[in-house]
Amino acid sequence: MPQVSRTVRIGSSHGLHARPAKLFAQAAKDTGIPITIAKDSGAPVNAASILGVISLGVEQGDYVTLTADGDDAEAALDTLSELLTTDHDAE
């Protein structure tokens, strides 16, 4: 199974805090495949864990790396990358 990674820049003006963190973790969980998220070169955490995601303390403009395994990994990362680059607080 291929492992896929992608590095994106955070668009949300409040980083990955409460609401954006919730949306992201929920989406990661909904993909049904194991996905991790890491800030810069830090240790990866489970992307479906809201607490893991919040505790990364990701701010707008930070770079994060998503990694997923499995057949649907590409499609899953496409969805999640788009979510991360959107400014949800500007909606």
């Binding site: 409040h14 805090h17 409460a18 929920q26 864990s49 505790s55």
Partner: protein, 573 residues
Amino acid sequence: MPELRGVGIGLGVAQGPVARMAAPLPPPPDERSTRSVEEETARVREAVSAVARELEERGEKAGGKAQDVLEAQAMMAEDPTLEQEVDDRIAKGKTSEFAVYDAFASFREQLTALGGYLGERAADLDDVAQRVIARLRGLPAPGVPDPGHPFVLVAKDLAPADTALLDLEKVLALVTTEGGPTSHTAILAREKAIVAVVGVADAAGLEEGETVIVDAAAGVVVTEPTDDELARAKNRADSRAAAASAPITPGALRDGTEIPLLVNLGNAEGAAEAVALGAEGVGLFRTEFLFLSSSQAPTVEQQRAVYEKLLAAFAGKKVVVRVLDAGADKPLPFLNDAHEENPALGLRGLRALRASEDILREQLTALAEADAATRAAGKGADLWVMAPMVATVEETEYFTKIAREYGVKTAGVMVEVPSSALLADRILAVADFASIGTNDLTQYTMAADRLLGSVATFQDPWHPAVLRLVREVGEAGRAHGKPVGICGEAAADPMLAVVLVGLGATSLSMAPTALADVRATLLQYTLGEARAIAEAALAANDAASARAAAQAAASTSSTAAEAAATREKETEQ
């Protein structure tokens, strides 16, 4: 009708069944589980899932921002990382309760360490942990209850996190056992206009579901109310609701006696809002902001621009400007930098201006020029100018003479010192009007520094000693046919406003948000009734009993008024 006493916030009254906010649970003990790992795991899964579903349901009902917070909390409850942490602890033989407590605590520390916004999310985590542990123990969840119907919330005090999730549609009133008039609950109640009585120590004994009347105006919670009491409380609540939506009218008593309602302003920016809330003018415009944080006095031109803006905003209305009041808690280096042991008793107010007369003359020049300019533009206001902290007749003469030199038509003094209240008859023979600053007058009458917490209990304008001084000024005003205004916290307290009018005040000035309640309250009493209520307050020995006596006298007159209204109706039919 047993009554529990507290401090009422506002004037409202409400009734309904009590729902208590459950107290936080003590941390579970770290002891070995007597259950198997499988049993503990099953228990924890059930509890976590039940809590998550409940949070989601509450979120769905709440909608908006609260829904986001609650859904995030539901996700925290079922967080896979946390689940792993809990499972690890259960595998080591811990109880579910302790495993949940300990696992959440470790995350809490991480979030707190991140600080700021993330640190605040630690409270959300605590709330989730408490809910799961309560569920495991079969206890009610801590926090704001949700009995499924409107309720009177009884709590120790509300934390900011509790109030954020408070469904204001469901909360009929707030009662707290702790907290005072400046507690978080009180602030919320004022902001949202919720009926509240705080600091009711005996409310701890109220039972879940029992019906109570929460009377903020009287500062009591009535338990075991009779049908008659409930009906009267409902009538009051209804008429207050009607008053709040009533059109804004000029301030007046029931008999038509006009009591102009003015506002206290510190800068010209608040003008539009004040006018929208029905301000009939400005009773106190503080000019300190022009001077504070400057190392030298502002120029005449700078001052004139601000005064012009203010006068134009209240075109055609009365605007009372107070010349610079510096010293004591508002030190100005260019005015007085000498060290004083007791600055409140030092060179402050008019005394400081007299020592630097050029500053006073510049301010009067700017005011006169602004007055002329706005009049020329057809936007003139009725400008009155007054001096702060006047203690003697001689000072009154000094100020009115100098003000008239600059063409000020109406020159007055602030009565903030007992000496000027006691000599009000002589002072008003000279000045065109008096304005009573109740905060300072209380401070100087009671010899209690208004900024010092340890003597805060003395700082109550309801004190009969303060009321007597107000009466002196009121009587002097009546004798000379000159206006006596009130500016300060006292005028914003609706019942006290009635008393002050009864003592002879002819206008009231307050924060714009207080206008509606004061307006509605004044309309309930005639001048004769206001005088009787004031007499009742004057006859008391201390502030608390003055307040109680005024309330008792007021309810007698409103009962009489109700009876009169009923008779009128009957005659009509």
